[in-house]
């Protein structure tokens, strides 16, 4: 059975690009365009992992991360962001994310990260 991943990004382009990568890797993909929709969809879908943008209109990514972890503390969340500040990485780590990948997302990097995440490891580039 295919693993199911929720892609959360306010950019339709970013969602399309990430969906393409994930579907090519054999995952089932669902999309959410903001934090509220992400929480609703996760509550219904119980996805195996979430790929989460940080800089979004409305609910900021860190807040979404916190709420997702409240719903399921063991949920693997991969943060996809162009914000490469060390402090952002620290915030994301402290928030309980499993991995962080720079945008634009590279397919090979994401595949390697997800392989680690499924083993219960963390990945930070």
């Amino acid at each position: 059975m295919k693993r199911k991943i929720l892609v959360v990004d306010d950019s339709a382009l970013a969602r399309r690009l990430t969906r393409k990568i994930l579907e090519d890797l054999g995952y089932e993909v669902e999309e959410a365009s903001d934090g509220t929709q992400a929480l609703e969809k996760y509550a219904l879908g119980q996805h195996d992992a979430v790929i989460l943008d940080m800089l979004m209109s409305g609910m900021y990514g860190l807040e979404v991360l916190q709420k997702l972890k409240e719903l399921n503390p063991s949920l693997p969340v991969v943060v996809a962001t162009a914000d490469i500040q060390r402090t952002t990485r620290d915030q994301v780590k402290n928030g309980g994310a499993a991995a962080m990948i720079n945008k634009p997302v590279n397919g090979e990097e994401l595949a390697e990260m997800l392989d680690l995440v499924w083993k219960g490891e963390t990945a930070w580039n």
């Binding site: 306010d10 950019s11 339709a12 382009l13 970013a14 399309r16 690009l17 393409k20 800089l55 979004m56 209109s57 962001t81 162009a82 914000d83 490469i84 500040q85 060390r86 402090t87 952002t88 945008k103 634009p104």
Partner: protein, 204 residues
Amino acid sequence: MELSPSQKDALTELINIGYARAAAALSDLTGHRITLQVPEVAIHTIPEITRKLLTVVHGEVASVNQVFSGPITGNAILLLDREAALLLNRLLTDRPAASGFDGAAREVITEVGNIVLNACLGAFGNLLKVQVSFTVPALQIESVQNVLHTLIIEEQPLEYALIIHTCFQLRASDVSGYLVIILGVTSLSTLLAELKKWEDRELK
């Protein structure tokens, strides 16, 4: 001229990436965390640009203006209000008492602008695979109207321009600034075409 929703979305995503790189450069320079806000991307007529900017910055500003050219040409501007520019100068130098725009301060602010603007536009160039050349950055200390008046005179044939403006803030200090990119209609069309090519390459 209006952007379609998908064009606006793609442009905003591109800007987000460049903007985040610029913020990281500024964070490295200052040692402070930069708080990011979602950039606003819109097309305005030239006179509207002044009105729009006056809603976010007032009075005397320090502006670092860098003209870029190549397949896409335009102006990239880092706008800081007077106090923000001086505080940035104090953060980056060991002159805590510096209070005016002397030669050393102007040099520091210009270099900050250079690094931030290059980080942003360099990210666009890399992503879209277009070569962008930069002029030497120019610092002006004057009113927002005057900053833009200079651009408008230089860009007189333009009727519309793309304006991307966004605020960044140094956490634990009051420095906030605005990044503005102004493109003419021709360059905007080229940029949109290059964006579409990027998307097509990635989705192939």
